[in-house]
């Protein structure tokens, strides 16, 4: 397919009247990267995606794809394609015509565009449904069609706006794996907007965590999880306790908290939950701070305790990350 190119955002800003949706962000996404824009609702991730897609024009800053400045180009001239949250399939067109739509708009003859549409339907394993209307497909099938439709223009970057949010949890995990496979096979960049950190960690080569219009932190999923830079990042990525120690905050992974009667720091167990792979203990320190510890069944069985008990807790010095 198309030659992959890196994408670069330089001081990109988006203002809607008085509100600042995206605040001068800089971001470089190397070619062939699966990038997840992650963050809570209203953090600017969707605005960022829409600016890359060309459905919003950046108020300030530049967007470069390869050597081209695409900041103000219309969507179809950018080499990007977008897959919409609700898929936005054309209800009056067959699956084949939906996929071939962009080629029809370019004036490509019917035989050629139907052949290309057939190839893409094959790619997403939907060949058998080419003559159906979107309303006759399930959510997962509609999504595959939407993917094929977006890919027919051979984009260098595919933009996905919360693509999995409309699916049930079981299907979500399956489509997730399929997106990843597709991205690997095509070798192009995918930029995927999500508010689920689990989804981002499972898929991304590069996680970009956004908060209040700025990039809070970016890195590989492992970097993001193991070295959160801020309290927000630690909380959003999950699995961390944010604690105040002396004059600064630290983050400690819940599975790095050790519990034993002998440890000096005393805590009361307020809740104990069995979660299969893990046991989760909610703990309260004497000064009122709360934290969570997760233990394996083995660790728990070695020194069992119950809700209401007083226990000692500790963590290694290198398990505590100072936060800014």
């Amino acid at each position: 397919m198309a030659t992959p190119a890196p994408l670069e955002l330089i001081a990109v800003t988006k203002r809607y009247r008085a509100t600042l949706a995206v605040d001068a962000i800089d971001l470089r996404i190397p070619a062939g990267t699966y990038c997840c824009l992650l963050g809570p609702s209203g953090c600017g991730k969707t605005s960022t995606l829409r600016m890359i897609a060309g459905h919003e024009i950046a108020s300030e800053g530049d967007i470069l794809l390869g050597a081209a400045n695409i900041t103000t180009l219309p969507p179809a001239a950018r080499g990007t394609a977008m897959m919409f949250q609700s898929y936005a399939l054309f209800p009056h067109l067959s699956v084949r015509d939906n996929v071939a739509f962009a080629l029809k708009m370019r004036g490509i003859d019917k035989a050629t565009r139907h052949r290309r549409a057939g190839e893409l339907l094959e790619l997403v394993a939907m060949s058998a449904y080419a003559d159906r209307l979107p309303a006759q497909l399930s959510g997962g099938q509609q999504q595959r069609v939407a993917l094929a439709r977006a890919l027919i223009t051979e984009p260098q970057i595919l933009l996905l706006d919360e693509p999995l949010s409309a699916l049930d949890p079981f299907l979500r995990v399956r489509m997730r794996a399929e997106l990843k496979r597709l991205q690997r096979e095509l070798g192009i960049s995918f930029i995927h907007v999500t508010h689920g950190q689990e989804e981002a960690m499972a898929l991304a080569d590069l996680v970009v965590l956004m908060n209040a219009g700025r990039i809070e932190q970016q890195g590989s999923p492992r970097e993001m999880f193991n070295r959160p830079r801020t309290a927000f990042a630690a909380r959003f990525m999950g699995g961390h306790n944010v604690l105040r120690r002396a004059d600064q905050q630290i983050a400690v992974r819940t599975d790095h908290i050790r519990i034993a009667p002998t440890h000096a720091l005393r805590a009361r167990v307020t809740e104990l939950e069995y979660q299969g792979t893990w046991l989760q203990a909610n703990l309260a320190l004497p000064d009122g701070e709360t934290l969570i510890a997760t233990l394996t069944e083995q660790q728990f069985d070695a020194a069992p305790f119950g809700a209401g008990d007083e226990v000692g807790i500790a963590w290694d010095d290198d398990a505590a990350h100072p936060l800014v």
Partner: protein
């Protein structure tokens, strides 16, 4: 359970079905029945006869290729109807498009839609009389044209002409076209338009390939309103045409006034048939477009 709910549904539909049966199907059946009765100069005779139809088409075969009166009248009515339909479609679609896609505020949309109902705030008679000071020999338009030295003498075709008939009908029925189309447009998911733009569609291509096909139900409903009303109209055509323009509805009126009820009924059935053919043809046309 299923059976019970089915019965309930039928019972709920019963009152309307009864009203339709008594006030629509029964009279229609009677019209069709009377249309095949015999008649003389002063009464109708309840005996089978094709006279109502044969009188209407009297001499039509002999006159060919010249069109006889009834065929000429129908041709005239269909032409008028087509003109009104085309204009109401253009105006209705444009106004609906503007309201649906360019007006973002819901309140303003409702306010502007209500403005479109202004032609209906006065009675038909007053509305038609009101055209006279507007379009007459010494009306506002003619005075303005002369004052601006665009014409020397008053323009005659402004009133009591085909022009004024079409103007009055379009003025009145554009709303009937606009409302169903607007309704269809409001149901279009805005993401579809964005998706079309993303796929490189120009404004015109989006209109042709996305918006118009998705407005099809509204266009067909609006067309049925306009065509059925205009095909049968004789009051507006009569008043605005200065009683000079023949129409299918006018034929029926003349027959009724002459107390030739079977002939009037026969013409009503012919009109019904022609109107239904136009509508069926129209919906076919739209369906074929979809196949392309």
């Amino acid at each position: 359970m299923k059976l019970a709910s089915n019965t309930t549904a039928r019972l709920q539909a019963l009152p309307l079905a009864l009203v339709l049966a008594v006030f629509f199907l029964l009279p229609l059946a009677m019209v069709i029945m009377v249309s095949v009765w015999d008649y003389n100069e002063y009464e109708m005779i309840p005996a089978w006869s094709g006279r109502g139809y044969s009188d209407s088409f009297e001499g039509c075969l002999a006159q060919l290729p010249e069109l006889c009166t009834i065929l000429r009248t129908y041709a005239e009515t269909v032409k008028l109807c087509a003109l009104v339909w085309l204009l109401t479609l253009l105006i209705g679609f444009t106004v609906a498009y503007f309201l649906a896609f360019h007006i973002k505020s819901r309140t303003l949309q409702i306010a502007l839609s209500l403005l479109c109902t202004i032609p209906f705030w006065t009675s038909n008679v007053i509305r038609m009389i009101a055209w006279i000071p507007m379009l007459g020999r010494n009306g506002v338009v003619n005075q303005a044209l002369q004052a601006l030295h665009i014409t020397k003498a008053p323009v005659e075709w402004l009133l009591f002409s085909e022009f004024s008939v079409v103007l009055a009908l379009v003025h009145l029925f554009s709303l009937f076209m606009m409302v169903p189309i607007f309704n269809s447009m409001m149901r279009i998911d805005r993401a579809l338009i964005e998706a079309a733009y993303d796929a490189g569609a120009s404004g015109f291509q989006t209109l042709r390939d996305i918006i118009i096909p998705l407005c099809k139900p509204g266009i067909v409903i609006g067309s049925i309103f306009v065509i059925t009303i205009v095909m049968g109209d004789f009051i507006t055509v009569g008043v605005m045409g200065g009683q000079q323009i023949a129409s299918a509805g006018k034929i029926i009126e003349v027959r009724v006034n002459a107390l030739q009820f079977p002939a009037a009924a026969a013409n009503a059935v012919i009109l019904l048939g022609v109107t239904m053919m136009i509508i069926v043809g129209l919906s076919r046309l739209v369906d074929i477009r979809k196949e392309l």
